[in-house]
Symmetry: C2
Subunit: 644 residues, 2 copies
């Protein structure tokens, strides 16, 4: 097994850039307060008071707890970088309510305490009970790390002890695991925070038991008096339980569930050097990236199963591509990257971060996408997988959702974005992402500070300055993105041969580093035309535009004709242009496209004459993540191309 890495915590990474830092501020000042109010107004917070009685409004839903605790996690991350006594007070109040809801035996779940106490642990397959526990653990570890306060962590230690007493292979325990994975990766966090191996062991149990015969979900269904074959999702690959996880070789089922499971498997592979888990992750990763991922890093095209379908089936207008799934992909890719510093993981991580995950929140931080389609057209709702009923309907972000997993998920991601930039191993400092700012880390027990000066992602020029406590030999790995050709690098002004020193997407320089050393990296960012595999039938004859890590789209607002009529000639020149006034400051892509002359199509739906008459039309492409921040309307990533 190759060298293992550990991510440099976001608390040691001080971002000073114009891309992520403003988003972190918006997240802290707008998104997180709004999410608190939503949790309050919808009854999610009060649910912990356990005062709900039948016939009252706001019946605690089975996964409400997770919405609150994901919000706590997000808020805790912001506290860790930006102290805020008022927010801390609010968190303490919420956490006291949570603590008060804990039962004598350690159990803690509002729905199964207040609404259906007789159903506790009777339907792990469908009811998210352990999933909620997992999110509570993540919140507990985050808040403990941010504040040093133990209350929620203590509560969760007791709850986890209870869970360990109920689930396991030992006699008298249930051999269960959750239909929606999450607790597995959360238990690893409990282990990292407490150092207690029992958590790691329980995570291993949940992962190892999954999909074994006889299937626990069947046993449990029979115990409920149901027929296992009546399972609503029909097949157990929906929840990755169709076979033992070490035998998995295709990505399938519910996309968020898959990402959380494989994140945990990557964690366990790292912690326990488990080759079987690692190999399964590799097979699944390849299956996903070879045919089941959008150019935006979105995954899971179908609303029907909130998940994966068949290879190369990547519809655009009905792309579900849930925000949480792209976030889950970031989690998994990041963990794979700690197992092996391979650019293929960092490429997808970066892609999802800058595109398919980030699109999940509006620029003002106040509205959210659940589904992230790659084309929008009046009347089409990717959430419902069916006609919305009216051409008046236009898909747009929402203030909240009945199933509100995405808003706090994007909040916790943005609040901890610094996590994804650096890793260290015994002898190596790896730089995965580029973003202006300063980070501190230990390499070979030596304090190292890296300062990046760059306007990435709008510009590929990066200067890096080092401070090293004392001159030390180690390797610096700098990612050369998969989208980049012709990277140029120099150390202390001396150019180095990038191709020669680059392997698996990382330029690696081993030398004695000392304070004052500086590296410059130039990652050329021409506007690229991207094509998809011919079996992605939805994109036949179409092109997408990308520049650096940013995937572009065209939006109705910027165009004179309905955008589905726009055709991009292969010869058309495309120019990047920074516009500080637009969408918070973005590089747009400008060019001239063509559009059919419509006069001959009046009252004609089909004709045998192709009518090559066409007009010129100005094309303006904006970053995909920034779509739907003006007048909601049509959008598309894939544009018909002609002439080549």
């Amino acid at each position: 097994m190759s060298e293992l890495y550990k991510a440099v915590s976001f608390t040691d990474v001080n971002l000073e850039d114009t891309f992520w830092m403003p988003r972190m501020e918006t997240n802290r000042l707008r998104t997180i307060p709004i999410e608190y109010i939503q949790c309050k107004d919808t009854g999610r917070l009060d649910a912990f008071k356990l005062k709900w009685k039948p016939e009252m409004p706001n019946e605690p839903h089975i996964f409400w707890d997770s919405d609150v605790t994901k919000w706590i996690e997000a808020a805790a991350y912001t506290l860790a970088t930006t102290p805020d006594t008022e927010l801390e007070k609010l968190l303490d109040e919420v956490i006291e309510d949570i603590a008060s809801a804990q039962q004598k035996d350690g159990y803690l779940n509002t729905h199964f305490t207040a609404v259906e106490p007789d159903k506790r642990w009777t339907n792990l397959r469908d009811l998210h009970e352990l999933y909620c526990a997992g999110h509570m653990m993540e919140a507990a570890t985050a808040y403990y790390q941010a504040s040093g306060k133990r209350l929620l962590l203590d509560v969760m230690e007791r709850y986890t002890d209870h869970i360990i007493s109920v689930f396991g292979i030992e006699d008298g325990k249930k051999r269960g695991y959750c239909g929606h994975e999450e607790i597995e990766l959360a238990l690893v966090k409990m282990y990292h925070t407490t150092g207690d191996k029992k958590y790691l062991k329980q995570a291993q149990y949940f992962v190892d038991e999954r999909g074994n015969s006889p299937l626990y979900f069947d046993i449990e269904a029979i115990a409920r008096g149901e027929k296992p074959e009546d399972y609503w999702a029909k097949k157990y690959d929906y929840c990755q339980a169709d076979k033992p996880v070490r035998e998995h070789d295709k990505i399938a089922g519910h996309a968020v569930r898959a990402m959380y499971l494989y994140s945990a498997m990557a964690d366990l592979a790292r912690e326990t050097n488990d080759i079987g888990l690692r190999k399964a992750c590799d097979r699944i990763w390849d299956d996903m990236t070879n045919g089941k991922i959008y150019i935006t890093g979105g995954i899971g095209p179908s609303a029907a199963n909130e998940g994966f379908t068949t290879p190369y089936d990547l519809p655009n207008e009905t792309a579900y591509a849930e925000t949480c799934a792209a976030i889950g992909l970031v989690f998994w890719a990041h963990r794979m990257l700690q197992l092996e510093c391979d650019g293929k993981y960092a490429d997808e991580m970066e892609c999802a971060l800058y595109n398919g995950a980030l699109s999940g929140v509006s620029l003002d931080g106040e509205k959210f996408f659940y589904a992230n389609p790659l084309a929008a057209h009046p009347g089409i709702n990717p959430n419902s997988n069916s006609w919305a009923g009216s051409s008046d309907y236009t898909y747009q972000r929402s203030e909240w959702f009945g199933c509100a997993c995405c808003p706090p998920n994007i909040a916790r991601l943005i609040a901890s974005i610094g996590n994804y930039i650096y890793s260290v191993s015994d002898n190596t400092l790896a730089i995965h992402l580029y973003s202006a700012g300063t980070a501190k880390m230990q390499v070979k027990n030596t304090g190292v500070t890296v300062r990046q000066l760059t306007n990435y992602p709008w510009d590929g020029q990066i200067a890096m300055m080092l401070e090293v406590a004392h001159p030390t030999e180690f390797a610096i790995k700098m990612r050369i993105p998969g989208w980049c050709g012709g990277a140029v690098a120099s150390i202390n002004g001396q150019e180095i041969n990038v191709a020669e020193h680059t392997e698996r997407g990382y330029l690696t320089i081993t030398r004695e580093w000392q304070t004052g050393d500086h590296i410059t990296l130039v990652l050329p960012m021409p506007v690229e035309r991207v094509y998809s595999h011919p079996d992605v039938r939805q994109n036949n004859g179409c092109v997408a535009l990308q520049r650096g890590p940013i995937v572009y789209c065209i939006e109705q607002e910027d165009h004179e004709v309905p955008i589905h009529r726009i055709i991009l000639p292969t010869q058309a020149e495309l120019q990047p242009e920074y516009n500080s006034e637009l969408l918070g400051g973005v590089v747009v892509i400008k060019g001239e496209a063509i559009t059919p002359e419509m006069s001959a199509w009046k009252d004609v739906l089909y004709r045998t004459n192709r009518l090559n008459a066409e007009n010129k039309v100005k094309l303006t492409a904006i970053p995909y993540y920034a779509w739907c921040n003006r007048t909601p309307g049509a959008m598309r990533v894939w544009i018909p191309e002609t002439g080549g």
Copy 2:
């Protein structure tokens, strides 16, 4: 108002062609017997014995009666042209059972007699009660005309008297009408059969009352203790009741319902010279044909409402395009054609007959499509509007459906196909369709026999011979199809100027006709490349192939590469080729297309290099109606086109 026409009955049209006649035989010998067995086995026939009790299997469903009576109608039509004592005996038995189910007050409906007697006439909006009555009336008139036997007609006269006593504007009556139109056109048939104007009047009532304020469906919902706004379909345009029918200007809602309503409106416009109804029909017709109809004559793209969506929204893989809707379009177009002999109606009628309706039944007459997509891909089910869950899934015809409206509907259409060929008015004989055979009719009280010799639709050469009881001056109108350019015609060997004598799609020759006159018509049938309006975004960059009235598709079975990889160059020559061995004898279209070289795409999903390397691939297109009669697999009508 222009000259009114009356269709020449299929009983006077003797088809001797190789296209429809074999289908009529298959319909008579395979489809109709199979449908009887299905009705028997599923309990639909026994339902009329009224012996069902709670907890028994085969609970009579709300619209089972209509499946049986549509089957009776189909069987009656076959009897009318091909006597069959065994079938007639079977029909008499079934009809006796139906008669025995009639209640003392004339009411006749198995569900609302055996299952929910307390719910009679309480939910016209959703429960198809008058719809079932309508299909029973159609069966009654068909069987009376075929056999001269009055039993079912008498039963239905009594039932209709009951319905008239319940529904109307008079004091004490309910001002109701059916959520699923059908009874309106059926009442016109009752009027035609009995001559009693009360039926026409009741049809007028149902049509005129529809959509008036206050809305009956709301009143009725409140009476049931429901909130009108909880209507599951949300908007009343689903059942064309959002406003009075004379104000309709857009085609909307459930496609079959719309077709049946507008068929009745065309009937009433004809019978009562009702300009308001006629104008509404015209507006809706134009709205439909200008942007809401597939090239196959399929209508209603969405499974969600089994109906219409927004202009130019014509998805291919998920096209619902219900078989019944295309059949309904034939009904409506045919009725419009009797109001005005305009080729625009005949063009759509012919298109639906040869393509989107006919595709609804397999060549062996034993399997049926409910949805008729214009592209099929593994995993996609147009019936469910969602991912079918597995790439193993392939859409194909079924032996029967829980909701079995389509199989008997296509059976009654094919059994009476002769109806659609000729019409007569006071001074005119109109020929709408071409098909080898002999038809007898009266024009100006003179017996006229027309004999067509042709191999249409595979060949556009048509010879017509006339027999006229005595030399008589009248006009003959011969349709020059909208798909046809350069038609040539001659009378008794003398060429006539087609363009000069053609108006609104009909070549019109007025003269004294006599026995021995012969007309030849040559309708050139080159392979045509058809393009759709640029706002049909699903077809951007694509071409469809058509020859004569036949729309073509490519099917996986005939191709070496997955068909979504096939690209048709604009310059590629396309040749028609008759193949007597294939699919019952069809003209296929052959040509050479291109397909991307795949070697560079191994394990690559996106790339910035377009890779123009391509291979040649033979293309074979088959008639759309004949798809899915071999190995079920991928199919597409719209093919990407390149180079022009």
